[in-house]
Symmetry: C2
Subunit: 735 residues, 2 copies
Amino acid sequence: MQKLDSSMMDFEERLEIDDFESEVMERIYSKPLLIKRVNTTSQIAIVGANVCPVESLDYEVPENELVNEDWRSRRTVQIFQYILLKWAFALIIGLSTGLVGIFNNIAVENIAGFKLLLTTELVLKHKYYKAFAAYAGCNLGLATSAAALCAFIAPAAAGSGIPEVKAYLNGVDAYSILAPSTLFVKVNVIGIIFGSIFGVAAGFVVGKEGPMVHTGSCIASLIGQGGSRKYHLTWRWLRYFKNDRDRRDLITCGAAAGVAAAFRAPVGGVLFALEEAASWWRSALLWRTFFTTAVVAIVLRGFIQLCSTGTCGLFGQGGLIMYDISAAKVVYSTPDILAVILLGVIGGILGSLYNYLVDKVLRTYSIINDCPNTDVSGNYKSFQCPPGHYNDLASLFLNTNDDAIRNLLSTNTVKEFHISSLFIFFVAVYCLGIITYGIAIPSGLFIPVILAGSCYGRLVGRLFEPISKLDVGLFSLLGAASFLGGTMRMTVSLCVILLELTNDLLMLPLVMLVLLISKTMGDMFNKGVYDQIVKLKGLPYMEAHPEPYMKHLIARDVVTGPLITFSGVEKVGNILHALKNTGHNGFPVIDEPPFSDAPELCGLVLRSKLLVLLKGKAFSKDRVLAGNKVLRKISELDFAKAGSGKGLKLEDLDIQEEEWDMYVDLHPIANTSPYTVVETMSLAKAAVLFRELGLRHMCVVPKSQGRPPIVGILTRHDFQPEHILGLYPHIRYQQ
Amino acid sequence: MQKLDSSMMDFEERLEIDDFESEVMERIYSKPLLIKRVNTTSQIAIVGANVCPVESLDYEVPENELVNEDWRSRRTVQIFQYILLKWAFALIIGLSTGLVGIFNNIAVENIAGFKLLLTTELVLKHKYYKAFAAYAGCNLGLATSAAALCAFIAPAAAGSGIPEVKAYLNGVDAYSILAPSTLFVKVNVIGIIFGSIFGVAAGFVVGKEGPMVHTGSCIASLIGQGGSRKYHLTWRWLRYFKNDRDRRDLITCGAAAGVAAAFRAPVGGVLFALEEAASWWRSALLWRTFFTTAVVAIVLRGFIQLCSTGTCGLFGQGGLIMYDISAAKVVYSTPDILAVILLGVIGGILGSLYNYLVDKVLRTYSIINDCPNTDVSGNYKSFQCPPGHYNDLASLFLNTNDDAIRNLLSTNTVKEFHISSLFIFFVAVYCLGIITYGIAIPSGLFIPVILAGSCYGRLVGRLFEPISKLDVGLFSLLGAASFLGGTMRMTVSLCVILLELTNDLLMLPLVMLVLLISKTMGDMFNKGVYDQIVKLKGLPYMEAHPEPYMKHLIARDVVTGPLITFSGVEKVGNILHALKNTGHNGFPVIDEPPFSDAPELCGLVLRSKLLVLLKGKAFSKDRVLAGNKVLRKISELDFAKAGSGKGLKLEDLDIQEEEWDMYVDLHPIANTSPYTVVETMSLAKAAVLFRELGLRHMCVVPKSQGRPPIVGILTRHDFQPEHILGLYPHIRYQQ
């Protein structure tokens, strides 16, 4: 206990030193410390209330005797195994996501076909009411099943899933989103599959690409768990994957595979993962993602060829290109380009309005204060548009969304749709898409947005018909592009996805133009829809660009105390006490005499490793270095990071009273080279560093000597605007 | 002088401390210091001999009073100007690169057309010898002009340029490659343009994409110079671009625009920049690059439409798709896939052999010991294949490379080429491509590789004709893909470039498969061709992955001494002496009593800023803090980074004898938050950090207190294998 008290005292002392220091600083650097910090503790409580129980991921490569030992023990053959396994995993992810995509597609097409067959038959017999009842009954049944599956089995499967995947890849593991337990994820995956099939086939304005991305990521996460101990499916060499870095890579591949499978767009999938999903990227990953989506493409191509003989029911007629419009002749001149620019501007505005409304609707459904792992309410009843509303525009409304898009994008069919029909359908789809997104079924945003956008584009095309040479089908494509640009705010990936969806390369310059305009317009009003949802869910996402006011603060300003440190060789009791009474995940280890001449930062030790160390009971009666003895006692396998939510807990320890006074050597497990920044570094610079390196903890060290060797630890939460503005409420208005 | 001596003493002392320290370390971490370091000074000399005079770029955001002041002085309107200007620059780069591309294309097509017209006329009159003489004369004339232009005006324009651009974007500024002076670059650009036109039209097996990338980057670099003082074209707000970060972004855009213009492949251009050219990437850059290539696409599309009326001579018949093969029906089954896999394997091997031979040829031309800025020899005479060799396969040899590729990729033309003709052409092109690359004219690698690859693919297609359903034209495409994969080792970008070149989306799964196989095969033997050339030129490129032996060294192990430090307020004489006697570009600034209680690291000061400070003569008689007085004396404009090779030099200073004993305050210009690593961090981890942050200097700080606050500085050269293996020759063989 003495240790904790002394650290408290250090903290008090430190504050005094800080005050002195800041005066000196001010004199030297003439940097005015602008605003007084408000009381810390009250703020923590406020911040804490809104934040969901999430775990930050740690992409840092730790360095210590444990890791070195592990590295030395790896033979060439094991490194080869590891590389081979990475590719095998990518193969498995590609294969399974591809198969899920096909299965999903076949089911959707066949269920829709069955509905159509049923109603057509009744309509031909002039039994209109029965036809309607049958159609409505089918839809109601399917929708209820979808909602029930979600509500009772996998609530986390509701919604798009892309924001959660995006947050995971940014370093935020919201429990149950990807993997609370292997079994649960399995159910989760199945839930998504069934749910999305039902959702798509029930006539909701929802897409399958978000759920497919989620599915791909779940498969990847499942593989990344490194087998299952419960079912004795653990291989020794799978432990190399038991870290956040390798899991991140796998999940990136999974997200790419999801898009590739949903849109039959392998290159688009890679770019989606790069541009939208991932926060970190490296060229090796580009290649692996590419491999994964190539597998998906080959699987899809194989099944489509197989199904072209008619063995899969109604599936497979589309071929690899979902909405082929390459037959249209692309001719345009100046008036067309002006029309396209106008289309882009309005599309961008409508897109950002869409985002705004989705946000409002989600807030109304009160997801804000619920955490992602709680039931996001099964009130599909709030789906208020009367079913009778559907009977009007049968070729659009009574189809699957895919076929509706195909109709809208069809070229050389100028007069097929009345302007009034297009307008009604546009308004309906625009509203329905917004309302549907919040309900309990798994649903994507791409398809609703493409649907509304292509309808809007066709509408504009019809209006510009007198002066434009461009086919209305192509206007429809541009409308879809403008809406996508206005909501999603992606560029290259959307461009490639649209190219792969429509196979019309000659439209590329116009699509690029429209995307640029609509994204620019949208960015003037609000953020991309996925960013909005991430923020809405309260996930502590690290933005690529720090807020402007962070330039006026230094790293020391936002560190929250009191800092709890351990000695290099620490009393078991102190460690237990600290683990019990704080929620910290990383503790600095300070070497003190006799282990060093003066106090020095030995490294950073993680809660998870401490728990394993304590469980292994490598204790000694005296305060001495244990060295490799610890490693001989505990296998390195035990230190590998367990799956999300599966690691050791404090309750699992069984430490006797007499062991509390024994010592344990933390040197072998402490990360001896944590990333450090000097306390006077501006918060903006520290934030960029933190994000670029994908850290969980960043040590703040003092500028001057003679003080304790560490000032504090910065975590993801310390960079969140809520936290900073809580401490310095007035800084927001500083330029 | 006393300072320098004392720092030398510190260094001696430090070594002793280090020895003691390492023992302690060894005890605590049981990390054996494996191999004794060899004598340092001799090694520096050896390393120095091979390294060309390059300047490292610095992508770090410095923090000090100067920067803060600059930031505070920026009004909202200026920030808006800055953003607007960024986009305006991207627009200009896109426009000019697009125009250069069109100009280039028109000239090539027309010169080739003229040659064809001339010879055809003579052939029709049965004057075969005259026809040959005319053709050979034309080629000789064009080739001589190209070589002369290169040799006398812009030697740096020779070769592909992509390796140099790649090195620049990695942080290595090899003088004269992009911008020795504004004027020179202008000539350079023109040289490249003319040179590449002549090169391409003279019948050499060379491509225009490398030179186009170089051209795009040069245009970007020219813009990034921030105007010209000489011609009074400097705007105050252009200074915001006078730093390496903004220039890097511009040059990335330029590289993308180059590929976009050369292949009419805007998305491919973005991906090329992302996958091959750039070492750092951020999502904002993706968008800007996309904008640039969109501009290129729109310019190209506009001119092609304009030229379709025949106003540009023979240019513009191809349309936006250079080698359209979308007419072919894509049908394939299992035997085809086996054939394709074989094709990929052999293509990969031939591709890596190509790299090996290019390397050998370049070494024979002895570029190795020459620096990029010296004349790379004008010996186009070593182009030894007799011109008479050409007369055989007229439809391939007597065409521009573009038309030859078009012929090879043409579908539904199985019997058009004899197997023997294909074979001869393949061998000839393969050899010619390798030999030509080293000579003095600007030449790309893409077109020769595509030419050889498509010929090889067609050959394989003919051989597999009995069992394969796939069109030989498509085999030709796959052959080109396999060669590209085998030499360039790109994946997604090649895939998209090929897609945009040929407009055949249905081939995507097969192209992906072939690329994956050939890249894998190639990677087994050697590196990508651009990486090889970068290495050959001795540019200190930072690899993404550290070498395995770096895991066994710590940061302190490779720091080269003696370290020269300055006091916070330093004597002018000491600074001058240090600047004169060392080549260092960064000097740590140490604050000592009375400015601090104990010696502490105040920051890092750059040579370029020191020169400006000394030039401004903000000196004082006493050792006191000057604060903002310095800034009032020297405008912040003076501190902006000048164009490559244009900054102040030591000779430009005019310091009087009596000023040597005066003091100058370094606080306002020192970067007060340099990135630091602890001395015990493994070299591998430090290397990753260094590269990810794009640093020029990284400070190594001591682990324990009571020692000088900085151990040394790591620069790019300290991470080079040559340097490390010079210090520790035996570590290479450690696992």
